[in-house]
């Protein structure tokens, strides 16, 4: 063990920790990320100096190819597509952990004919299992998020039984592999089973639950790196992997809480399917009141406080910039403008904040649900753009609603609510929204971007 290399790894670990700590404050976040990347660079450098000169070219080629692809994707990707990109990168992290563990195992047992100890072998198996699930699970999440495959929950009979059998099979294969290192077939079979398991575990989970899935897969990619750290007896892999694993688990919990679902319930999948069936026999038809652009503009002009509630529908309509213009003109008129952000407003934790930051809205105007929920009662006007389930009062009042118990924004408490919506379509959960029928609620139908741009035009003339 080279002491300098180990110290370099220690420095890298400390930089990762400091980096994550600084990521916790908006002011220091960017520096924190840079610090963490310096840590990564030191870890890479300390590793590269150990290798034979001849291997250096191969390593360099791989790094150049990877960096080029990584940079290209990072600079081209649209902010609405960040969840897809994170899913994709997550998957790459997972499969590379699998490949590294497999490479080490293969080198020792097949090419050098060595006997590996049980702890290492178990670590290899864990690495393959988690890495494999992370890879294919992330790929399915990626395809679901970008619409290449249906975002709906895909369920079939005996699904959970098959998953259980595969998991038991994976554990069995690991046990057999421990007994016979000379035969690598078991580890290969384990990799295949893990990859299959990743697909089957994510496929029944619907689009609305994707924030949970991405967070969980993020955690898995950390755990896979951790397991690989045990294979290679490498501390920095374990520290970094543990940090990511913890981060993913916390975000998963936050997302589950925001949707009032248990993790098990999300993982079992099928949400958003039963709801549509229930809907057919559901009670009274909701009658809504429509509002025209001119009238809406007059309402905006007459208020002194406004809370804008953005949902993912706003991003789909590319209306962020129009919304920013709206908030600017309202502020010019002396109206107090704030944004209420529900934790699951986007497609991943914190996604809505990034989308609004991109369209140049100051981050101190973005208020999280718990902090703003008591303020709706003394607010003149709430403007809901492309949000649905997160403003549905049924979550508080109707025990038979599929979203009952989910924390929602108390928009109905405001004096007036205007909802910008394309049509009377339903939200992700596929249920009616009682808010739209409320006495103080007015519907502003049409494409969000066009409607809001026109609304800004009307406001300018007033």
């Amino acid at each position: 063990m080279n002491i300098f290399i180990q110290i370099a790894y220690l420095v890298a670990s400390v930089l990762f920790i400091l980096g994550i700590k600084m990521l916790g404050k908006t002011k220091t976040a960017r520096k924190g990320n840079i610090l963490s990347s310096v840590g990564m660079f030191i870890a890479i450098l300390a590793t590269v100096v150990q290798v034979e000169m001849i291997s250096l070219t191969d390593i360099l080629i791989c790094v150049v190819i990877g960096s080029a692809i990584g940079l290209l994707v990072a600079f081209k990707v649209e902010m609405t597509k960040i969840p897809e990109m994170v899913a994709l990168f997550n998957g790459f992290g997972g499969i590379s952990s699998l490949a590294v563990a497999m490479a080490d195992f293969w080198l020792n047992t097949q090419e050098k004919s060595l006997v590996v100890d049980n702890i290492t072998a178990v670590s290899v198996a864990v690495s393959i299992l988690i890495g494999g699930i992370t890879f294919t699970g992330s790929m399915v999440a990626f395809l679901k998020l970008n619409g290449k495959i249906s975002g709906r929950a895909i369920t079939f009979k005996g699904q959970h039984l098959i998953n259980l059998v595969l998991l038991i099979g994976a554990i069995g294969l690991s046990a057999v592999a421990l007994g016979d290192f000379s035969n690598a077939d078991y580890m290969i079979a384990l990799a295949v089973v893990s990859l299959l398991l990743g697909i089957l575990v994510v496929i029944p989970i619907g689009g609305a639950d994707m924030p949970v899935v991405i967070s969980l897969l993020n955690s898995y990619s950390g755990m896979a790196a951790c397991a690989t750290g045990f294979v290679l007896n490498n501390n920095v892999l374990i520290v970094a992997g543990a940090l990511v694993g913890a981060s993913g688990i916390i975000l998963t919990q936050i997302m589950c809480k925001a949707m009032n679902r248990s993790l098990i319930n999300v993982l079992l999948g099928g949400f958003g399917q039963t709801a549509t069936n229930v809907d057919g026999q559901e009670g009274p038809q909701i009658t809504v009141k429509e509002v025209g652009l001119e009238e809406a503009a007059q309402i905006f002009d007459s208020v002194s406080s406004l809370i804008i509630v953005p949902g993912y529908g706003m991003a789909v309509a590319q209306a962020q910039h129009a919304v920013r213009e709206l908030s600017e003109i309202c502020e010019k008129k002396g109206i107090l403008v704030r944004f209420a952000i529900h934790p699951v407003a986007g497609r991943m934790p914190g996604h809505m904040n990034v989308l609004l930051a991109e369209s140049n809205i100051s981050y101190d105007k973005l208020i999280e649900m718990d902090e703003i929920n008591d303020d709706f009662g003394n607010t003149d006007l709430v403007f809901v753009v492309g949000a649905n389930d997160v403003v549905n009062p049924a979550a508080k009042t109707n025990p038979s609603s599929p979203i009952f118990g989910m924390p929602v924004l108390n928009v109905e408490k405001a004096r007036t609510v205007i909802v910008s919506k394309r049509s009377m379509g339903k939200g992700y959960a596929g249920i009616e929204n009682e808010l739209f029928g409320a006495d103080n609620c007015l519907m502003l139908f049409g494409d969000a971007k066009q409607t809001i741009t026109k609304l800004v035009g009307e406001l300018k003339e007033l």
């Binding site: 290798v51 499969i95 981050y363």
Partner: protein, 95 residues
């Protein structure tokens, strides 16, 4: 690996996980997306293992090729992850 080194690694795992929970609990929801993509980049630390796996002098070796594939993918994860996180954090401005 003997039981002693295993226990040391286990200590590191448990303490680092605890530290991770403490740190990340304090991150405000506004920054959750950059946190996730930034930590995603950190999970590309497996790049270190991939470099070691590439260090085999025989092109007929399966483990070398596995290492090289792992290296390309881990580099995408690391470089792309840090770059996109930086791009996002640049946008967070207070007027």
């Amino acid at each position: 690996m003997g039981p002693e080194s295993f226990i040391i690694l286990l200590y590191i795992l448990v303490l680092a996980s605890y530290l991770g929970f403490e740190l990340i609990n304090k991150v405000p929801p506004t920054l959750h997306t950059p946190l996730m993509s930034g930590s995603n980049a950190i999970s590309g630390i497996t790049i270190v293992g991939a470099i070691v796996a590439c260090d085999v002098l025989d092109y007929g070796s399966i483990s070398k090729w596995l290492g090289m594939i792992a290296l390309v993918l881990a580099t995408i994860n690391v470089v792309g992850g840090y770059a996109v996180t930086d791009r996002m954090l640049k946008m967070f401005k207070k007027k």
